[in-house]
């Protein structure tokens, strides 16, 4: 990827915004303005653009990006935002690893993923720009708006570094605009580290032809908790950026938008998870902080008490899980929210809930693993741990959210299944959904989403705590407080009376019934619908967050005349009936996952030792079908373009 940067091209396309600090008198400024405006700046109408704003952390690129996305969404553009997050809280300034910011993909249509390379990047210094270049995140001829204050930096090394990157970028064919952001902001604030982001927002609003009043409203909203002075200052900076871009940049885009006919809400996946918890009627969330799951609990902590419920921060994940198990046992189904390392610690508690048939919702916002792995990066590495992670045979339900909206509804569904089947339901999300924002139709609250009040009526004489239905494995649940229902729930193998099993057949019976419940649930599931034609040459199968990128790839492939379709699995355990028949309608089947799989190109790797991606492994084992896999564990949300290339390669294989 970095090669792009260093490729020599003959045309140098640098367009320096002509703002030589020495010539900033009003006359030149005025002439510049008129030049830019009067030349009837050509407005380029686009279907979509990907914009990135990056800075050192603390300089507000994130806020700028989020606001930009929010304004676009309000206009009616489809948007998807992706956070660019450094691993540390206060990484050193001007460092490549410390890059913080946001990607906003905006389009005239609905957007389901972060897309491929960025079309336009605003960078507050050349180091954060390098981060994006090295990651291959900027299009070949992409537009770069770079803060130019570093060119005259007192520190010669910085000035030199700036000059070097400027030359490399220009010669590699990027369209570089050097912007005197600092200088312009200094007219309003003594320290542009605070405020430059609003100047940048103003520029972007101008470039993308956004209504400035709407931007003002957004800024007021963002700073609503601050006092008037702060708001006014930011509004001034916004307007300044807008005016400056209008006067000095030959960039003017319009991305036609259609206002939504239904009310839409814009939020990220973790907020959607938290709201789902409220909407599901669960009353207790116990958790231990872990990236990237924590923000769901932060948000929930803010609002949960308003409905009389509790977020309990336990001393560790083992306690978080067993606390939830206790709360579920004596009340309504509880939820515990975590990420990979926490899931590992919770496994014994999950097994207890399985054994005791206590409903429980476990949310795993996956990150890169194993061990501490990549805390802020996306990976779908926990599927097998979710299905089979604990010791022994512990059947549980595993579902995955495939969009922001789905994060909300998945929790409601999980709570229902957990309580109807007295089972553990694991909901898988991941870092790419956690912080991504997307509009979706505003949910209309439905009382059916809620858990009924707990049963406190006397248990009928003769009823037994595990009165397993021989066909479905289902039994009732006696809740403390119910007269006549006293029994000792135990993690030991037990019989229908919850008495410890000493007889080998009793253990076999218990396992059988707990296992049957999965089948009973499976019978209620419908086969997933395919995206694209019902048959063809290649079926791409994915699960969870990759749905949008995969479907976009399918669109591209089909536009090229290739016979490709895709399938997204929400239920990973149990899997719906009919999947095998769908797989068989395609010549080739390949999973697309954000996790590792061995490559047959590696010398030592062959069919008999290849480690498959998680879903591929599950599908192969269940359906005896030759399912190939393509995986990427770099930690970035999958890109439609990469999927297209992988699919083409697969189609070309004989």
């Amino acid at each position: 990827m970095t090669t792009d940067l260093y490729q020599e091209t003959d045309k140098t396309r640098t367009r320096r915004a002509r703002s030589d600090p020495s010539a900033s008198d009003s006359a030149t400024a005025a002439s510049r303005t008129s030049r830019a405006n009067s030349a009837a700046k050509p407005v380029v109408t686009l279907k979509e653009h990907i914009v990135e704003i990056v800075s050192d952390s603390g300089e507000g690129a994130q806020r700028c990006g989020q606001s930009f996305g929010a304004i676009a969404a309000r206009i009616g553009n489809g948007i998807w935002t992706v956070e660019i997050i450094p691993a540390e809280i206060q990484p050193p300034a001007r460092s490549i690893a410390g890059t913080s910011g946001n990607r906003v993909r905006l389009a005239s249509h609905r957007v389901t993923n972060g897309g491929d390379e960025a079309d336009l990047v605003v960078a507050f210094n050349e180091q954060v720009l390098l981060n994006r270049l090295r990651a291959g995140e900027i299009k070949h001829n992409g537009i770069i708006l770079l803060e130019n204050k570093w060119q005259n930096d007192g520190n010669a090394a910085i000035a030199a570094s700036y000059a070097q990157v400027r030359e490399q970028v220009s010669s590699a064919g990027y369209r570089l605009y050097e912007i005197p952001m600092e200088e312009e902001c200094l007219k309003y604030v003594p320290d542009p580290r605070r405020g430059k982001n609003m100047f940048a927002l103003g520029m972007l609003c101008c470039i993308y032809s956004f209504d400035l009043d709407l931007a003002r409203e957004q800024v007021r909203f963002v700073f609503r908790k601050k006092d008037e002075k702060v708001i006014d200052l930011n509004l001034e900076l916004l307007a300044a950026g807008h005016a400056w871009a209008g006067a000095n940049l030959d960039l003017k885009f319009a991305i036609p938008a259609e206002r939504p006919r239904e009310p839409q809400v814009v939020m990220n996946g973790n907020t959607a998870l938290a709201l789902g918890v409220v909407a599901s009627g669960m009353e207790v969330c116990s958790m231990y902080p872990i990236t990237p799951a924590t923000s769901a609990s932060h948000y929930l902590s803010d609002i949960f008490e308003k409905v009389g419920c509790v977020v309990h921060q336990a001393e560790d994940e083992i306690a978080a899980c067993t606390f939830a198990v206790g709360a579920s046992y004596a009340g309504k189904c509880a939820v515990t929210i975590t990420s990979g390392p926490g899931l590992s610690l919770k496994q014994e508690g999950i097994g207890l809930a399985v054994m005791g048939e206590i409903p429980l919702v476990v949310v795993d916002v996956q990150r890169g693993g194993p061990s501490t792995g990549q805390p802020t990066k996306a990976e779908q590495g926990d599927l097998l741990a979710a299905c089979f992670g604990g010791h022994g045979d512990a059947p549980k339900v595993v579902i995955a959210a495939s969009s922001i909206e789905d994060c909300f509804y998945s929790i409601i569904m999980a709570r229902k299944i957990a309580e109807n089947f007295n089972m553990v339901v694991v909901v898988l999300s991941d870092a790419s959904l956690a912080t991504a924002q997307q509009p979706f139709p505003r949910p209309r609250f439905n009382e059916d989403w809620l858990a009924p009040p707990i049963n406190q009526s006397p248990v009928p004489d003769g009823a037994r705590p595990y009165d397993w239905d021989p066909r479905t494995g289902l039994s009732s649940r006696f809740i403390p407080g119910q007269p006549n229902g006293m029994h000792c729930l135990t993690g030991l193998a037990h019989d229908r009376d919850s008495h410890v099993a000493y007889d080998p057949d009793v253990n076999q019976e218990g396992i059988r019934h707990r296992s049957l419940k999965l089948a009973a649930l499976q019978k209620t599931l419908k086969a997933p619908t395919l995206y694209g034609d019902d048959e063809g040459d290649l079926l791409l199968v994915g699960w969870g967050s990759t749905r949008g990128a995969i479907e976009e790839a399918v669109d591209t492939l089909r536009a090229e005349g290739l016979r490709a379709s895709s399938m997204n699995l929400k239920f990973l355990q149990p899997m719906a009936t009919g999947i095998k028949e769908l797989l068989e309608r395609f010549d080739k089947v390949m999973t697309i996952e954000s996790n590792w799989c061995d490559s047959l190109d590696d010398e030592l790797i062959a069919e008999d030792n290849r480690r498959y991606s998680s879903l591929a492994l599950l599908l192969r084992a269940r359906h005896l079908i030759d399912v190939d896999c393509w995986g990427d564990a770099r930690g970035q949300p999958l890109k439609p373009g990469d999927i297209v290339r992988a699919a083409r390669r697969k189609l070309e294989q004989r």
Binding site: F210, D211, R259, L275, A279, P458, D461, G481
Partner: protein, 330 residues
């Protein structure tokens, strides 16, 4: 459902719970002479004396010989994971303050694998009675040293003798902020054991009772010097602690009047070597309970959930009627 309901109502009117109402249909399977038997009897006696409805009583345990406890109680029992009795009990109590929660845990269960939860449970101070069955050994797994095993104990994992000094559950508990009730009992003075458990039950907050428990199977004769010589037992008496019946007082003459509000002295007493202190070491009824601090002011009715959800959605909604357009471009 109708039959038991009427039966229950009848029971409410004319029945008193008796001891057998708290005994499950499973006979205890502890070894003969195991101190756990006495602890079980004391708790059943308490339930009877307090007339606790069995359906409102929950006994939570971890794993170990002692953690078999809930199987032998006619109540709601929860025999969960090794070391995790306390967080389970906390989860139960949080949403169900109406339930009477007891925790039975062993020295391995509480002070080793569950040590983190123990410290934090003291801090949460939820209203429950925690009984530490301290036999100074791992019983169920057949004699390994526990954190409370005396130095030099020859066990299956310390064949040449345990190398480390034992952890003192009393001093540790007394060192945790928010501690609100600490007592020590021994299984071989049943009357005082009962008395202390009763004090613990009546304390609002987490009451931590360490019970020195004889394990004839693996620690035979371990407590003989104290069982045989009552003068080596120091009984802590106080108007705000326990008072001794005359017959007990006559046998156990080594008594100290100890005010349970005196934390400093409690720590000194807890650190005694040679003598075993028995009684209420510390009590502070002013420490708030976590479940009270977290109690929601409003019930989560469907109406409230709808309102709050809508409030949250409002903050992030784009309404179709919003009059927003892109700037006119020509």
């Amino acid at each position: 459902m109708t039959v038991p309901l009427t039966q229950c109502l009848l029971r409410l009117i004319d029945e008193n719970y008796t001891l057998t109402d708290y005994q499950s249909d499973i006979a205890p399977r502890w070894c003969t002479g195991c101190g756990d038997n006495g602890i079980l009897t004391a708790v059943q006696r308490l339930c009877r004396d307090e007339q606790l409805p069995p359906e409102k009583t929950v006994v939570v345990s971890g794993i170990g010989c002692s953690s078999r406890f809930p199987h032998y109680m006619n109540a709601y029992g929860f025999h969960g994971l090794h070391g995790r009795a306390l967080p389970v009990a906390e989860g139960i109590k949080l949403r169900r303050p109406d339930l009477h929660v007891f925790v039975a845990t062993g020295d391995g269960d509480c002070c080793s694998i569950g040590a983190a939860h123990w410290i934090h449970a003291i801090r949460y101070n939820m209203d429950m009675t925690v009984l530490l069955h301290d036999n100074e050994v791992y019983g169920l797994t057949k004699m390994q040293a526990s954190p409370t095993s005396p130095r030099g104990l020859k066990s299956n994992t310390t064949p040449r003798g345990a190398l480390l000094d034992p952890l003192n559950p009393l001093t540790v508990t007394l060192g945790v902020p928010n501690v609100s009730f600490v007592a020590q009992a021994v299984d071989w003075i049943p009357d005082v054991l009962f008395n202390i458990i009763s004090q613990a039950y009546h304390h609002k907050g987490l009451s931590f009772v360490r019970v020195l428990q004889r394990c004839p199977e693996f620690m035979d004769h371990r407590f003989d010097p104290w069982v045989q010589d009552p003068s080596k037992m120091r009984l802590l008496v106080h108007a705000d602690g326990i008072q001794l019946k005359p017959d007990i007082s006559r046998i156990y003459r080594n008594q100290e009047t100890h005010d349970p509000s005196d934390l400093h002295r409690a720590r000194e007493v807890a650190s005694l070597t040679g003598e075993i202190p028995v009684g209420v070491l510390y009590r502070n009824s002013a420490v708030p309970c976590y479940e009270d601090l977290r109690e929601g002011e409003r019930p989560n009715t469907p109406g409230l959930i709808r309102t709050v959800l809508n409030e949250e959605f409002d903050k992030v909604t784009i309404w179709p009627e919003d009059d927003v357009t892109t700037e006119a471009v020509e």
